[in-house]
């Protein structure tokens, strides 16, 4: 028997569907050389791969936060009772951060509270002073004297640990390269160092090194302090930031994916069938697109809020977590509608062009059914537009979430997200002295996530968009192209 009760929220389910679709897609890629080629170009992009490593770390954190469960409660009579409080695997990993709540604000790595309080001394006198934190720096005897030394020790230990972890990674990569290409570990390392490997392993390992150092540092410090301070209600800001990652990723991916089947179908159908189908689809997306995005989202979200609030007795919405989760799903769908229109328009245009091309005409002449033409011939040829749209939309959606939550039409206030973090902290800059750490944490995490997403999206677009030619024709590029050409020729002759 499990010591917990697994919980599958709607967003979790959708994320797993997304994972499954990605896996099927990757499997398809493995089998088809022409599909694989552009992705190899992505994998060779130095900036793209550096960004991909960062995104992968975010994705792992987000996925851990998608494994939800209700922990078991201690019970006497042998019957199993589960808590109604839903937690995730990430919560379990970060249980220390989650549990160690202070009273209110405290600065990063602080040992004392941020606000003065009246404290009663053992001899009965009362003084106004900054009380010690309940958890941050609890292990220090005399914070004034020991703090600097303790933090330095922890920083060094963290860097050392991160460095060791990184060495393991380097060894693993070099071993894999050596096995693949032969020539021993030393040779492999030299090739990585000189950037002579096929894939930019030097960039990947350097990014991993930076992340390992950062992770080591954070872990070493977080065991004794609040690394990024605490917020107004005393919650650890690092914990809140890590929890916000899931929301950002879900908005960024699910918003495009929920509406994707509809957009693809409508766009292709409009371009392929023309006539009244085309008129209808065009009318639909022009109407939707003519309502300014924020206003459409605002109208939808306000009505959805009323809908959920007046039906809180439905089993779908019976717990706070479920309500917040449904709100997130609906928000994704609404955001999807607004991005739906541009994708459908692009697909329609591309299909209009493609349907006049010889191979489609030939398929027609052979009497291939419309459905087969669409799925077998048109869809693979417009897939790059869809993929580019998905990756390009991601960063914009993450940014939009913060703005929408600020305006009051974003995620549920109970959901951790960067928007709710900023929203909660918006008056803190006016305090004296300034409470800057919540905003700084949200800023840092969002910047890293969105920057990585932007860089990766650029790499994907450069590789997938046939209109974009390689900017500089280096000898290496020409050689690679010729080699590829020769390889595909050889395969053609063999067949």
């Amino acid at each position: 028997m499990l010591p917990f009760q697994p919980v599958l929220l709607v967003t979790d389910a959708l994320v797993f569907v997304l994972l499954a679709v990605t896996a099927v897609f990757a499997w398809q890629l493995r089998r088809h050389e022409h599909l694989r080629a552009p992705w190899r170009r992505v994998a060779r992009s130095r900036r793209g791969m550096g960004a991909a490593v960062v995104l992968a770390v975010f994705a792992v954190i987000g996925l851990l936060d998608c494994l939800h469960y209700n922990p078991a409660l201690p019970s006497q009579k042998g019957e199993r009772v589960f808590s109604t409080e839903t937690r995730s695997a990430l919560d379990a990993l970060l249980s220390k951060l989650r549990a160690e709540r202070e009273k209110t604000y405290s600065a990063p790595l602080a040992t004392h509270l941020f606000a003065k309080e009246t404290v009663e001394r053992p001899d009965g006198t009362q003084v106004r002073e900054f009380p010690r934190l309940r958890f941050g720096g609890r292990h220090l005897e005399d914070p004034a004297a020991d703090w600097a030394g303790d933090v330095t020790r922890r920083v060094l230990a963290g860097l050392l640990g991160g460095g060791l972890a990184w060495l393991v990674l380097v060894l693993a990569v070099c071993a894999a390269l050596a096995r693949h290409a032969g020539g021993g570990l030393r040779k492999a390392w030299q090739r990585v160092w000189a950037a002579e490997t096929d894939l930019p392993w030097d960039v990947v390992l350097a990014t991993m090194g930076a992340l390992c150092a950062l992770a080591g540092l954070t872990i070493a410090l977080a065991t004794g302090y609040h690394v990024l301070g605490t917020d107004k209600t005393g919650q650890d800001v690092l914990y809140l930031s890590l929890k916000s990652i899931r929301t950002g990723l879900i908005i960024g991916t699910l918003a495009t994916l929920i509406m994707l089947p509809l957009a693809v179908l409508a766009g292709i159908a409009a371009g392929y069938f023309r006539g009244w189908v085309d008129d209808l689809v065009q009318y639909l997306y022009t109407t939707l697109a003519s309502i300014p995005g924020v206003l459409l989202i605002a109208a939808f979200v306000v009505m959805m809020q009323v809908f959920i609030d007046t039906r809180s007795d439905w089993t779908l919405f019976d717990t706070v977590v479920k309500r917040a989760d449904w709100r997130l799903v609906i928000l994704c769908a609404i955001l999807g509608i607004t991005s739906w229109t541009s994708l459908a328009r692009l697909l329609r245009g591309e299909t209009l062009k493609l349907r006049e091309v010889e191979f489609i005409q030939a398929a027609h002449a052979f009497g291939v059914s419309d459905w087969t033409i669409i799925t077998r011939h048109l869809l693979p040829n417009v897939m790059h537009i869809v993929l580019i749209a998905v990756v390009m939309d991601f960063s914009g959606l993450v940014l939009a979430e913060a703005v929408l939550s600020y305006v009051g039409v974003g995620v549920d206030p109970a959901t951790n997200s960067f928007g709710t973090m900023i929203n909660g902290a918006r008056l803190e800059m006016g305090r004296e002295p300034v409470v800057w750490w919540s905003l700084a944490a949200a800023f840092f995490f969002m910047l890293v996530l969105v920057l990585a997403a932007n860089l990766f999206a650029d790499a994907v677009r450069d590789a997938l968009d046939p209109r974009i030619r390689p900017r500089r024709l280096t000898p290496a590029r020409v050689a690679a192209y010729l080699a590829q050409l020769a390889r595909s020729r050889g395969r053609g002759q063999a067949a």
Binding site: T287, V306, T310
Partner: protein, 326 residues
Amino acid sequence: MIAWLIRRLVYAGLILIGVNLLTFALFFFVNSPEDMARAQLGGKRVTPEAVQKWKQEHGYDRPLLWNGAAEGLRAKATDTIFFDKSVRLFAFQFGTSDQGRDIGFDIRTRMWASLAIALPVFLIGLAAYVTFALLLALFRATAFDTAGVVVCVVLMSVSGLFYIIGGQYLVGKLLNLVPISGYDGGLEAWRFLVLPVAIGVFAGIGSSTRWYRTIFLEEMNRDYVRTARAKGLSERRVLFRHVLQNAMIPILTGVVVAIPLLFIGSLLTEAFFAIPGLGSYTIDAIQGQDFAALRAIVFLGSVLYIAGLILTDLSYTWVDPRVRLT
């Protein structure tokens, strides 16, 4: 030209009908007026009488689409929620908000404050972004260009919220140059406008400069540019006379459509700086769950957007002699 305009206007009318039906369905089929009354009055513990009274006061007590109880065919069709709340929007009769204020009056008085921010941001921004993009295009494939693009990507990865919060903190609080927020009528308003306009321009630098740069580079790969260079024209002349003029077409596509929407203003800027424009009006409507005001703003927004689309097409004839509107 006239025939084209008439056709465009008819199509615009059709789209507006679609928008209208969509918002009507959204506001009245997803939630009944009952739900809205409860949301306004707060929670479940509202008596049916209070709900009925609220509906009566705000005109939600009639049938949705067809009033069978009314006298005469005309009244049967017009004495309904649909006619009163949706069809009247076409005549720009916005009615009263759920808070009991005249929406039309609010919109007319507040749009000038929105425009006072949005127009300078638009004009200064356009000039600044095109200049930066031209500079990057002039020094393309150099370290300057690469650094510029990197800066652009970093800038566009920062949420607009941080520009506003950071700008307010730096300029308003630390340097104490201008008031942090507020608004004043007349010429005195400039003190309140400088900071939001500057932040608005700055927030757009990253994405816009990068976008214009792409447009310029795309134009620079064309044959006529090669011809111009082959003629021996200086790089500056090629860039300013040939590339810039031809790049106007894609630039106009994105720019002209935004002009009418300047009246709506920016939700975020106005909320942060407490500017009494339409953006903050919208936010108030959202936070106060004022459905009537929200419907009016959504409708107004789409009218302005469609006007922008028509303007865009008209502007093509002005910059591109090949375009004929027939």
